[in-house]
């Protein structure tokens, strides 16, 4: 009798250990888990939690252009971001102005500022590249195992702009409107040119009084 209890107990113990040690999963699930970076989800979170709050700290574009003329190094040191080595840097800017023309690929805006008052282009067609991802300095490339995941974040951020920021603005804007904007610009420190500034928009509003 004692032997039966002993053997039954041992078998049960082995069964419990075996049951808890081995499990089966579909290969598809495992593969999906291994490459599960969701760039769209990451971009959505980055947009609401990092980028939008950071826009309040953006420099006014007229002020930036004045600083670039008087002290280029300070302007780049204090306001530019880039994730690596090189001449290409990104700035987060904001401002307001009057629409001078609505063109096929862009909206031309004459800046209203106490400083420089250039005419800038707000991109409405070619919204590509890393300007928006990198301009805030809030993203870390080393958090990504694969460069492609990191690049896809740019693609998804630009998609948000193309789908949510531009269409409501583009459908209503007309010459003479007063607009406010925030966005990202790209400048080359070594070969600096501020003649044709293109803003990739993050926020656009028509604010006619």
């Amino acid at each position: 009798m004692k032997k039966i209890i002993k053997y039954t107990g041992s078998v049960l113990l082995v069964a419990v250990v075996a049951y808890n040690s081995v499990y089966f999963k579909k290969l598809d699930e495992v593969k999906a888990g291994a490459t599960s970076f969701d760039a769209a989800k990451y971009a959505e979170k980055f947009w609401t939690e990092k980028l939008t709050p950071h826009v309040a700290k953006a420099i006014e574009i007229g002020q930036l252009l004045t600083l670039l003329q008087t002290d280029k190094n300070k302007a780049f040191a204090d306001h530019a971001h880039a994730l690596g080595i090189g001449n290409v840097k990104y700035f987060l800017v904001k401002g307001s102005g009057i629409v001078k023309s609505v063109e096929e690929n862009q909206v031309m805006v004459k800046i209203e500022s106490e400083r420089e008052k250039p005419e800038v282009a707000i991109a409405t067609e070619y919204v590509f590249g890393n300007a928006v991802r990198d301009a805030s300095g809030e993203i870390d490339i080393n958090a990504f195992t694969n460069s492609m995941d990191f690049n896809n974040v740019s693609g998804e951020l630009n998609k948000i702009i193309r789908e949510k920021v531009i269409p409501p603005f583009r459908s209503k804007v007309k010459t003479g409107d007063k607009v406010t904007f925030s966005g990202a610009i790209e400048l080359n420190k070594e070969h600096l040119s501020t003649r044709s500034i293109e803003i990739i928009p993050i926020d656009l509003k028509i604010v006619n009084e």
Partner: protein, 317 residues
């Protein structure tokens, strides 16, 4: 007598062993440290420049260096790593042949206590290399693609020539390009083929594509060697004036061709910056620094006719 003889032989061997150890210790303490520069191929002037600049920077920092050519062959690259480890090299400045296949070589070197600094090309591991100094190929091709779309006015037929299919740069460039171009349904890709980053192969591949598609408007190439090969094929078929060629690298002949109006644009990489950064990081490693960024992207700048005066080959001015 026999015992005494064996005894002396054994004792001599022990002393010889100690002498060898002493020699090795003295070498590592007194001799200058050495850097192995392992590059994917020396059959492309761009990589020759990368390797030579890394060697020059190592020399400037007072280190010995030797260049190893992997000939685009991962198993040859493995041999070079084994050589470098057994020959007592203290750091490896590395341009990989394959993003996945090269990971094991880097891991072996790291396990042997040798830091590895990747230059230009990426390996698919964040942990294996000490640091990776990489051209931001994707972003560079996004910029080129915007110009491509503008130049073709959003419509036309084009061919894409890809580089080595196992290299991340091939896909970073292609995906950067397509992340823009694919938004325009008027632009139709009639062929996409690999020419292995090779000029002659690019010429052959495009010649064959032109047989079936004589009416293309543009060719996008994953590097400048292929752009020059594509241009040669277009000259041979009398279409060089009609078809726009775009490259990537910033090689000498392409910069000159942009000045002459033969090639539309290229992405200027900065191999000297990457090579010098890698050698400098190795120097810092020898001096005790261990905290390196795992990835260090180097910005790529687009060169076209209206800004070509700012650039010379390989990012020089």
């Amino acid at each position: 007598m026999r015992f005494t003889c064996k005894y002396w032989i054994a004792l001599s061997l022990v002393f010889f062993g100690f002498a060898l150890i002493r020699c090795k210790t003295r070498q590592s303490a007194d001799e200058p440290k050495k850097m192995a520069i392992v590059v994917s191929t020396l059959n492309n002037p761009w990589f020759v420049f990368l390797a030579e600049r890394a060697a020059a920077k190592a020399k400037e920092l007072d280190y010995e260096s030797k260049i190893f050519d992997s000939q685009n062959n991962t198993s040859l690259e493995t041999d070079h790593f084994e050589n470098a480890i057994s020959s007592g090299y203290d750091a490896i400045l590395f341009n990989p042949t394959d993003a996945d296949g090269s990971v094991v070589n880097v891991k072996n070197a790291t396990a042997a206590g040798i830091p590895v600094f990747c230059m230009d090309r990426e390996i698919n591991s964040n942990e294996a290399a000490t640091s990776q100094i990489l051209s931001d190929s994707y972003s560079g091709c996004v910029t080129i693609a915007k110009y491509f779309v503008e130049t073709l006015n959003k419509k036309g037929k084009y061919v894409e020539l890809l580089g080595l299919v196992g290299d991340n740069n091939t896909w970073n460039r292609s995906k950067g390009f397509h992340s823009v171009v694919d938004h325009y349904p008027g632009l139709k890709m009639v062929a996409q083929q690999s020419a292995d980053f090779d000029r002659n192969k690019a010429m052959e591949v495009l010649e064959s594509i032109l047989q079936a598609n004589p009416d293309i408007d543009a060719v996008f190439c994953g590097n400048d060697a292929m752009a020059m090969g594509a241009y040669q094929a277009l000259v041979a078929s009398g279409k060089a004036d009609k078809v726009k060629v775009f490259g990537f690298d910033g090689a000498e002949d392409v910069v000159k061709s942009i000045q002459d109006g033969k090639i539309k644009a290229t992405g200027m990489q900065f191999p000297e910056v990457m090579a010098q950064t890698a050698a400098t990081m190795a120097d810092q490693y020898f001096k005790g620094k261990r905290d390196f960024p795992k990835k260090m992207p180097v910005a790529v700048e687009m060169v076209k006719k209206d800004n070509v005066e700012n650039y010379a080959a390989y990012g020089k001015k």
